[in-house]
Structures are given as C-alpha cells and as structure tokens.
Amino acid sequence: MRRLAAIYRKELQYYFQSATAYVVIGLFTLLSGYFFYSIFRYYNYLSYQASREPYLGAGLNLIDGVMRPLLGNVGIVLLFTLPLITMRLLAEERKQGTFELLLTYPVSDLEAIMGKYLAALTVFGVMLGATLVGPGLLAVYAKPEPGPILAGYLGLFLIGCTFIALGVFFSSLTSSQVVAGVATFGVALLMFVIGWASAFVGPTLAKVLAQFSLLDHFDSFSKGLINSQDITYYVFLTVFFLFLTLRSLESTHWRS
C-alpha cells in the first residue's frame, strides 16, 4: 500500500509540476464552460419563446434542456483530453528505461499500475469537479432536481474510469506516447459510437452493438437512471483493461 502511495504521489507530482495538468484541466474547463454557456443561452431562448406560445413549454425542464446535452458534450471532450493524461504513464518509463529499474524494486506490477491509474483518475476528478460550477449556478437560480444531475455525473465518472484504464493499457504496450495516445483515442471513440450501427444491422447484432456502446449505457445515467447493468458494464471494462495491462507488463518480463 505504501509503495502504491509513493508511485501515486510521484505521478501526481509530475502532473502538477509540469504543465500537463494545468493545460489539460484549463482547456477542459474552458470547453465545458463554453458548452454550458451556449446550451444555457439556447435554453433561455426556448423559455422565452415558450412564455409566448405555451404549448412549446410542455417538455421544457432543466435536466432535459441543459444537463443532458451538457453532460453529453462533456463526455466528448473527455474523449479528447483523457488520452493526453494517460499516454505518458507507462510509455515514458519504457522509453527512458526507468521501467526496468522500477520492476527490480520490491514493487508488484499491480501496485505500480494502480498507483499510476489512481493518479490519472485524480486529475480527472479535478477536471470533472471543475465543471460542477455550471450546475452549481443552476442550483442557485433555479431548483433543478439534484438526483438526475448526480446520476449524470456518476455516469461521466464511470466513462472516465473506463477511458483511463484503456489509456493505461495502451500506454503499457508501446514506448511512444503518441502511439499510446492516438490508439487510446481511436478505440475510445469507436466504443463511444459503435451503437450507431445498431440502426442498420440485423436485430440480433443491433442488440449486441448497443450493449457494447459506451454512449448507450451513458444515456440512462444522463436521464437520471442508475442501472446496475450500466454500472457493471463500466466497472467490467475498467477491470478488464487494467487486467490486460497487468498481463502486458508480465509479458515484458518474458519477452524483452
């Protein structure tokens, strides 16, 4: 546990001593702030219209009108930003050769991976926390239901956990940060959108694809629905990718 904590601290220190954390968190909050602003202004416009034509206002509420589109957009921004956080974690150690030394200390592979994973998760937590400003403002001026908002955030957090595990895995496969980052982004994007094809393929395959889609599982969270099936999906993928990372480390012992 102490060794895991040491690796965790070292990685976190790196994020915040270099520009990485500030640039990534800064850009991420800028973008999500912009999304909040534009979505909210549009909602504002719709409410104004609705005041004159009451039938328009029937389905209008803060959750469906602001939070759902906002969280969806934030999810897409995460798709771009999380690979930037994870790509360095193991690839750089491999490139510098520090990996060899790390693995000759009395540290288990699991401790090394989890220390790094949790450090990236912490940076992500700070990012996600920073976006709470928007819903916070909503809570001050209106009275949105807190439940669906929290459920939506839980969904985003789980997506982040999955992306980071995926990123750590790709980072363990290569000594090039760029390769790790691009591969993470590509696979994450594919997992995000794979559900779209379910509209065209046969009914059986459609169900399978929908089950694989990150987006489809996120949808119920953003509606305020916490479904054990969806939680299981994200937790399973996270554990799966971390397990693959462990195996990949083990194979470096055997191959190099």
Partner: protein
Amino acid sequence: MIQVENLTKYYGLTVGARNLNFTVDNGEVLGFLGPNGAGKTTTMKMLTCYLPPTSGTAKVNGFDIIERPMEVRKRIGYLPEKNPLYQEMAVDGYLEFVGELKGVPRGSLRSEVDRVVERCGLGTVSRRTIGKLSKGFQQRVGIAQAILNDPEILILDEPTLGLDPKQIIDIRQLIKNLGGDKTVILSSHILPEVSQVCNRVIIINHGELVAVDTPGNLRSRLKKSAVIRLKLRDSEESNRAAETLGAVEGVVMVRVDSSAGGVMNLTVECPPERDLREEIARTLVERRIPLLEIYTEELSLEDIFLQLVTEEVS
C-alpha cells in the same frame, strides 16, 4: 552470496546466456568481462529478476530468483547500464521515492537518504533537478539509488560508462569502498578497471563462460611462455649477447628488438615455470656485457582477454 546454476537465456533463437555456472561469495567484488553483446547485461537482468531465464536458475542469499523474486529484489541494489533516472525529479525527492519503494521504514527515510547522499558526494546538488546535472553526478545518483536501504548485494552494469577520467577514478573509489561489506557484481569492458577493483573476474563471450579466476591466476594460467626483456649498453661485447644468452640452459629464443642511441633491446623467451632472470644476469656479468635493465613482462588483462576470447572462437 549468489549461486548461479545452469543459467540460460534465449531471445528467440539468439543466445543471451548459455549454461552459466558460478558463485559469488559474501563481500566479494566480481567483475564481468566480455565484448559488447557477450551476455553480461542479460545475466545481470536475470539476477535482478527483470528477465526470467529460459532455463536454469540462481539463488541470491538463498532465495531463488524464479520462486521468490520479491525476496531477491529486497536484497539487491541495481544500477542498469544506461542509468535510467526520472529526469524531472529533484535528487532528494527521487531518492525518497526510491526509499519508499524499497521499503525503508518511514521514520528513518530522511536519514537514509542523507546517508546515501553523503556517501555518494551528492550533498551540493541534492536539491537540484536530476536532468540538469552533469553525467558524473547523474551516475552518482544512480549508485545512490542502488545502495539505498543498504542492500547486501550490488549489481552495477558498466558503472563508469561515458564518464571523464576524473569521474571514473571517483566512481571506482566509491565502488572499492563499497566492497568488503557488500557483495558486488560489476560489468565492464574496460579491463584495467576490472583488475583494479575486482577480487575475481568472469570472462563471458557469446553468452558462455570462458573463464573464472582472480586476475592474478588468469595471468599465470595463460602464460604459455614467460618473456624477459633486457636493455644493454651497446658495446662490442653486446654484439655477442644474443649468442651468449641463447646458450643459457632453458632459454627458448633470443631476439634483438632494436639497437639505437647506444642502447640495445632484447627479448628472451623462456618456459613459464622457470624464472631465468638470475641465470641471465649472472651470465651477462661474467661475460662483461653491460646490463642496464632486466624485467619480466606481465600479461595485461587485455592480453588475457583477447587470448581467451580468440581461443574460444577458434
């Protein structure tokens, strides 16, 4: 104490190390000698549990490298060949990090870091960023992390690689000071280094063990013939020197190497088991040939190394 038994490593079809057998006693400094790609680094990587052997095994202080790698890792300090360090960290921050990983008790972490900083002469740079230090200081940081938590065994892969002569002397002195209470394995292809620092030498070539012995024994073992060199003052008598010496019992061959500036250089070959210096000196004095110098030539480690490695090839 390290016992290596039939240690073998193949990279695909390429041999990294084949059937290595040797032991290293406590407190001994053992030198690994061999050309580039001979299997020195491979062997070290196996002993530090980074690479698993294809077959065979080794025991480090009684712990098997395959069955009890964590116990082995706790007892080993390792300096890899390229001395990989986290360039962005400060020296003391890095050493504290390594200390935590090596399981130095929390209470004594600070004092342990101070100890290795002191021992490796890093006091003046302990707050600086590693990446900004000179190569020599970086190498000391590498050794500092290896000796952190006082491991019983040190494995140093080419510890003086890429340093300037002054730094090389410093690092060698550091390693010499470490020997005695620690078991040290160090690899090198700089031969004088090995003969200066090590109690015993292992010569490896093409992944196979060619010889294990003390530098001194290796020398005498390889002496096919002893060579005595002579300097004589050039005179009428000395022209007969070659002839005279050829007649001394036991001399195999006499050769006049050069004769210039009133000094004549001769080489006398004789069988390795007999020291003919006395005989030769007496003969020369009796014949009134003016003798200036007489000495036997020791085989340098370079010669031994080349002989062994070449024999192996042929």
